[in-house]
Amino acid sequence: MSRRRWRLLAPALLLVGIAACRGDHDDRHTLTFWAMGRESEAVAQLMPAFEREHPDIRVDVQQLPWKAAHQKLLTAIAGDTTPDVAQLGNTWLAEMCALDALEPLQPYVERSRVVQPADYFPGIWATNRIDGTLVGIPWYVDTRLLFYRKDLLAAAGFDAPPRDWAAWSRQLAALQAQAAPDHYAILLPTNEFEQLLSLALQQDEPLLRDGGRYGNFESAGFKRALAFYVERFKRHEAPLLANTEVPNPWAEVGRGVYAFYFSGPWNIGEFRQRLPASRQDEWATAPLPGPHGPGAGIASGSSLVIFRHSPRKAQAWLLIEYLSRPEVQQQFYALLGDMPPRRSAWRGDALRGDPAVQAFHEQLERVKPTPPVPEWERIVTEMQLVAARAAHGELTVDQAAAEIDRRTDAILAKRRWMLDRAGRAR
């Protein structure tokens, strides 16, 4: 291109540039909010009230299917096209943090009158703190506990669910003794890691050691949890089935095929919908028994985060504050059944008056975070693959624990190298 033509073109480009800036200026207050699955549909209904309170902000809720969400987030980070605010599964926080994609939120919380850390369940709040930095505000919580058949337990001679492992073992044995053929005391789908992970979190030993450099699955605590888990299959108290082979666990619990079902809060709605009204008082929920008295559970759920590259962080924080209000969280619970992470939100009538969710309330006070390393999802996937082999009797507890450690150490090799290098640089 000749210099002369370039000179002619330059003002035109400048104009285009100004027009682009101008366009940016016009929608300065449009917040992009990425939400996943059913949450994205429900939260869209909460937006008109927020926009009425803040006429200068418009929220564009973009829906991501859960299956594609993780990939889409990483692609957005790689391509620097992240939204302003997003819902993130709390096990993804460490990963996003390693990519330096999230805005630290501690300064916002300190100035906020709405978000009060002391009001949150401590285990859930802790999952949002990665290496000492707060990167997310819990939005809704999720844990696993026991659903059980009251009448079957009573028929076996127990008037209350177990509070510790010893009582639980006795109840499982008694239930199995009186079970019909192909009926089981408990359903523990072999392809779900949450059950074993819950038992493992009840132990004193951490699951990773040396600052997340190595697996700690050969600790006495994890082996105890794994042995308890495998024992259920060995004694035929639990069937060797993956959840794909149990398409309708609710009907089967209703028929008494399983007396205990170790699962999550969405089942409350499923049981209410799928079992006839006459049988609704046969099932109940109970917090998890621990090795010695009531035990810990997993702290999953989603958090709200602000991306570091957002030019609208102040507005984004206003949105997070709005969604964190106890009364808005109660509305969200009414829309979807997602449980609020704040104790004050649990004082609403819908939650307080519901006996089935009370066990969750109790359990949420005792949830524990998993190790905050980006590799955790891969580690826990491998843990369950090996544990399923132990459940099938292919490996002993000791062999399985060693195998999980071996696989975990391989997954963490890169992390060790990075930590060591950072240590040398310091």
């Binding site: 990519l99 330096d100 993956a242 794909t244 980006p374 890169k414």
Partner: protein, 292 residues
């Protein structure tokens, strides 16, 4: 301007497009496969290490890679003959002088090829649903027990093969039909006068005359079937018990689920090597057969 330069000038646009969208990415991927590019490297490029052939070595020691390779070979070894058999059968029917409404039948048989894999796979998932699917309904009418088509590790791959064959046979059918129409009718006339049966006409005229077309179809189909991905992705997500995890599916998981692009690129090049080797073998066999 010489002829050579003119030729290059005309080729430049195509070469540029190929270079930017094919050769550069392929070289990039080859480079990536020699590194440990992962999430940490995405965060900070200083976290990238050159690891040589380490990714390839690790791959060979990974049980899941061998499972995926076994599944892929199963799919190719069973799927390719079935697919080509179906193509040849329908092409012969369409080419038969007895066939009526040829254009209509050709269109109908070709239709699955132009549908989108994902949409049709969803429909097949309904058809093969254990409880509500039409297929099990038909089995029940015949008095047979229902089969858990996509949930049983032994049945999932056959179901996916059936789907892939149905989806793809139309394409080869058209190529083979063109090959059949190119066979000179005099050969059949001469054979008939010599008293050759239909079967002998097929064996000694049709098949030899189709040979070059068959080799082409075989090579294309084998290369395509080795790249099995969309069908298990939509229908089974690689399950149950990883029985439908193909090599490409493994690459997708490594790359886009765990973001280990170094490992994923190594998987891609391993698959490329396998396809190349198998294709060379096929071509050599074909040449030897032609010489004999």
């Amino acid at each position: 301007m010489s002829r050579g330069r003119t030729a290059w000038l005309f080729l430049t646009p195509a070469l540029l497009v190929l270079g930017v969208f094919f050769f550069v990415p392929v070289l990039g991927a080859l480079g990536l496969s020699l590194t440990d590019y992962d999430l940490y490297a995405l965060a900070d490029i200083r976290n990238l290490r050159f690891v040589g052939l380490h990714n390839y070595g690790e791959l060979l020691q990974r049980p899941l890679f061998w499972t995926a390779l076994g599944n892929t070979f199963y799919f190719v070894v069973v799927g390719v003959p079935l697919s080509i058999g179906a193509s040849l059968g329908t092409a012969l029917l369409l080419n038969s002088p007895l066939a009526r409404m040829k254009a209509f039948h050709r269109t109908v048989l070709f239709a699955p090829v132009v549908t989108t894999v994902v949409a049709v796979a969803v429909i097949w998932r309904y058809l093969f649903n254990t409880r509500y699917g039409l297929v099990n309904h038909a089995l029940a009418v015949l008095g047979l027990n229902p089969v858990d088509w996509l949930g049983d590790p032994h049945w999932a791959m056959p179901t996916i093969i059936a789907f892939a064959v149905w989806k793809n046979f139309g394409y080869n059918m058209i190529i083979l039909l063109a090959g059949l129409q190119a066979v000179p009718p005099e050969l059949y006339e001469a054979a008939r006068i010599d008293g050759a049966s239909r079967w002998r006409q097929f064996r000694h005229i049709t098949l030899p005359m189709l040979r070059p077309t068959m080799v082409l179809v075989m090579v294309l189909t084998v290369a395509g079937y080795f790249q099995l991905f969309a069908e298990p992705y939509v229908m089974t997500e690689g399950g149950p018990l990883q029985s439908t995890t193909s090599v490409l599916y493994l690459m997708y998981d490594d790359g886009f689920k765990w973001w280990n692009f170094g490992v994923a690129s190594a998987v891609a090049f391993a698959l490329f090597g396998i396809i190349l080797a198998v294709t060379m073998l096929l071509l050599r066999l074909a040449r030897r057969g032609a010489a004999a």
